[in-house]
Each structure stands twice: as C-alpha cells, then as structure tokens.
C-alpha cells in the first residue's frame, strides 16, 4: 500500500523543482537582459579602474619617477618644499607615496580659484617633475564607475543597488546550472551552433568567475548599506591642535614635515607612510596614514595625528584596534579594488572584471542569437543547454 502511493509525490516534487528552476532561470535572464546596459557599463569601467593609475602613468610623463625608492626612504620633506616653491599660494590637501616603484610622489594642492592640481615629485630628492590637472584616467574611471558622474549622494546608491540583482543573478545562475562544480573544466563545444558555443562560454566564465562575482556583489551591497546611512563609526577624536590662523602655518616646511613623520613612526613603529593629509581648517591636525600590521584595511585605518605647530602627536589609531563594523567598512575597498596584494591581485581582479564583462556580453549574445533563430522575443524557458555535457 505504502509503496503504491510513493511515485506520485516524487513526480510532484520533481514538477515543483522544475518550476522553481524555471523561475530562477527567468530571474537570471531578466536581470541579465534588462540591466545589461548598466551592468555592462559598470563592469567595463570597474575593470579598467583596476589599472587606472597605470593608465595615467602611460599618459602623463611627469608621473614617472627617475629612480625607484623604498617607501621608508622617500624624501617627503624635500618633496613638500619643492611643491610649495612651485605653488606658494595654494592650499595643501595631500602628499601621497608613489603607487608603484616607477611612480612619482604626488602632491595635491588647491589653487586660489579652488582648482585641485597635482604636482609630481621625485621620491629620491623631491625634485619637481611636473604638474597635471585634477581630472585624469583614474578620476574619470572612478567617477564613472562609482556614481555615473552624478552627485555621489544620488549616483552611489544607484550603482551600488546593482549589487542586489547581481547577487540574485549569481545565485540563480548556480541553481539553474545543475552540478555547476563539474563545469570548471568543461570544454566549450566550438564545433556546434553559435548559441550552444555562447552558452558554453557563458557557463564556463560563470563558474570560474563566480567567486569574484560574489565578492564584488557583497562589497557592492556594503557600499549600498553605507550610502543609505550604515556607515561605520568615525575614528576616535584626537586632542585639539594648537590654535593658529591658517590650516598650515607659513613656518611649516619640509623639515617640520619630516619631524612629523618621524613622530608618527615613533607612535606606530611599523607604519609605512602612504598619505599625509593636511588640514583644511585652522583647527585641524596633520594626519599621517599608511600600512601597518592590520590586513585588509584602508591606509587611513593606521593614522597618527600631529600638531602642525608643535609637532606633538595628538592621537593615533591602529587598524587592528578597530571594531567589527569599522573593520568591515575598511575591508570593503581593498577587497573591491584588489589592491591588498599588489600587482598579482590587481591582475587577478582585472581578469575577474573581464570575466564579468564577458558574462554580460555572452548573456546578451545568447538572447539575441535565440531570437534571431526565430524564437519569440520573450525570455526563454530553461533548456537542456544549461546542463549539457560536452557529449550532448
């Protein structure tokens, strides 16, 4: 009796599983097609943004350092003096360590007409190598990718909201592609018709790129949370610096900057200075930031605030002392940008970006190929293509 009633529920279960799979497929296809313009644009700009500094290095001769210098031996003070001689009237914003061994030190200052300007300086002796405007490939790609050139308050939520359909697309793709773990080494069937070849390439790129899609979607979701008010708490307040009339006193020179950096290094002995941030108001400190022991944090997580008048250390923060919320916020950028492991991770992230772009393109190509072959212009039903083996 019992054995007679078993087949029916099994058939129902199978029908129900098939319907669920169809639903996931429809979701996957709808997202891929309807959002193809925005996702494709964000993927392409994000991919090239990985190497945006290198693109600028190729385009701007002043960015090329004559000699590579270890980070600990950069002539910060001489660079400050040279930049100040060139732009004595300008307000200081930042002084940055070279992005790579062949790069120059970058000083960013603001002119009296409020234009940010970049000055490029030799890391060996601080000699001025040249000057360039604020807008470059890095800025352009960042602003296009991050907020579509819109005001960040509007653009960041729009772009980061794409992380949610991206997550759904990833999950649905893995559900629809049954036994996807077998697909890592499945050769595309190049001898078959275009639609099958495109499907094979789409699935191959999908399984290899799935970890990267997950990473980008999760960090993107975090950016959405941040843009909607979920920002991590601010770093601890420091002791107020000495009162003065201007953000950076006229007496502050390269020698004083070197003293401030030395004080910062005494405060955090393993600090490898990356950025010196100058105050924009008369009551702000000079903030020396950089890499230290904590992994997967932005350079600002290791920071020492220094009084620009007395040179005293006013406060410090180490990456490893931050709370969980702050650590998540700090980890998002290195994970999203792929900068935490130097050139190897940047290369990997660039390849990941190409894979994501390929997924968007092949997904669209599958759709157009299908419609071209006479199928109706609505979203297709899942077919056996999705689980096809090379032998099929």
């Amino acid at each position: 009796m019992k054995s007679e009633t078993r087949p029916r529920p099994k058939k129902n279960r199978s029908k129900s599983a098939s319907a669920r799979r169809r639903w996931w497929f429809q979701a996957h296809a709808w997202i891929g097609l309807q959002l193809s313009i925005l996702l494709g644009f964000v993927f392409v700009t994000g991919t090239f943004a990985v190497f945006s500094h290198e693109i600028d290095w190729l385009l701007e001769p002043a960015m090329r350092a004559p000699v590579a210098v270890p980070a600990e031996e950069i002539a910060w003070g001489a660079a400050f003096d040279a930049a100040r001689r060139e732009r004595p009237e300008a307000a200081w914003i930042t002084l940055d360590r070279p992005v790579g061994p062949a790069f120059a030190v970058q000083a960013v200052v603001r002119t009296t007409w409020q234009e940010p300007v970049r000055l490029w300086l030799s890391p060996q002796d601080g000699q001025l190598l040249g000057e360039s405007g604020w807008m470059n490939a890095q800025r352009l790609l960042r602003m296009l990718h991050r907020h579509l050139m819109l005001p960040p308050k509007v653009g960041v939520p729009i772009v980061s909201a794409l992380a949610l359909p991206l997550l759904v697309s990833l999950v649905s793709g893995l559900i629809v592609y049954r036994k996807f773990w077998r697909g890592f080494f499945r050769k595309p069937r190049f001898e078959r018709r275009a639609r099958l070849v495109l499907g094979d390439l789409h699935r191959l790129a999908g399984v290899w790129g799935s970890w990267f899609v997950a990473l980008i979607a999760l960090t993107g979701t975090w950016y959405l949370v941040e843009s909607l008010g979920g920002r991590a708490p601010a770093f601890p307040e420091t002791i107020p610096p000495t009162e003065r009339g201007v953000p950076v006193p006229a007496s502050f020179d390269g020698a004083r900057l070197d003293q401030a950096i030395a004080a910062a290094r005494r405060s955090i002995p393993d600090l490898v200075v990356q950025r010196i941030q100058f105050p924009d108001e008369a009551d702000g400190p000079i903030v020396v930031t950089g890499d230290a022991a904590a992994v997967l944090v932005r350079v600002r997580a290791n920071r020492v605030s220094v009084d620009p008048v007395t040179g005293d250390v006013l406060g410090r923060t180490r990456g490893e002392t931050l709370g969980l919320h702050q650590r998540i916020a700090e980890a998002a950028d290195p994970l999203h940008f792929g900068t935490f492991g130097g050139l190897p991770t940047k290369l990997l992230w660039f390849l990941g970006g190409l894979l994501m772009t390929a997924l968007a393109l092949t997904g669209v190509a599958i759709y157009t190929e299908r419609v071209r072959q006479g199928a109706p212009a609505r979203l297709p039903e899942p077919t056996d293509d999705l689980e096809a083996s090379p032998a099929a």
Binding site: L33, L35, L38, E86, T111, T112, M143, L148, L150, V364
Partner: protein, 142 residues
Amino acid sequence: MKGRVALWWQGLGWLRWPSALLVLGAFGIALAYQPIAPGWRSHGVREVGTTRVELSTRGLLRRGEAFDVRIEVSSDPAPAASRAFTLRLEGPRAGPIELGSATPPFERAIELPEARTPLALVLSTTQADPPQHGRWILGRAP
C-alpha cells in the same frame, strides 16, 4: 551585428531608456566636467585710491582660455557698482573698465606668470595722479 544590436535593444524593455540615459548622461557630464564649483570665488578686497574693490573669478584659470571676472566697487559717498566681464589668460593685455558715472573708470591688466612670478590681475584708476593700483595674486596658472 547591427541586427543583433537592434534585437537586444528591442528586448531590453522599459529599463532601456533610464539605463541609456544614465550611461549617456555620465559620458556627457564627463566631457563637460570641471573640477571646481561653478560659482564665483572671491580673491579679496583692495583699496584702489579712495575706492574699495572686491575681485572675484569664476572658472578655471588656464593659459589661453577665457574666465569670468567680476569687480564690485564701493566708495563713499558713491554707491556700490558691480561689473562682470570675461578675460582670456593671454597677454600682456590691458583695457578700460567703465562702471558708470558714479565710480571712477579703471584700467585692468593681467600679469602672466614667469619663471617664479605668479599670475596676477591689476586694476588701476585712471583718474588719480599718480595712478593708484590694486593687485590680486591669483596664483600660478598652468
């Protein structure tokens, strides 16, 4: 290829226009982008003879390119007057500025930066004897 693009565009549905608008808009803004806010930037007040003159500029100061200048003049008992005009960063050039009968006429000149000198804008009264000058250092133009 053209046919495939058309098929894709037709299949996009209602999101096609908002998406295209955002992307094309991004390109458009990128082309027109200026890294500074579009408003006026005051460079301070100078006494030129018996007249107080405030000078403001708008836009990037780039060699060979035009930028907007506004001067606001006030002198007791004359009422305040204001005049905006466009200058091009090439020179040396001078020219008169008429602000009406209530305020004295001015001559303006641009000092372009040399090896170690900054960009400056000079206004001189043409009525005073000897002539009085107001000089605004605008910084070093690229």
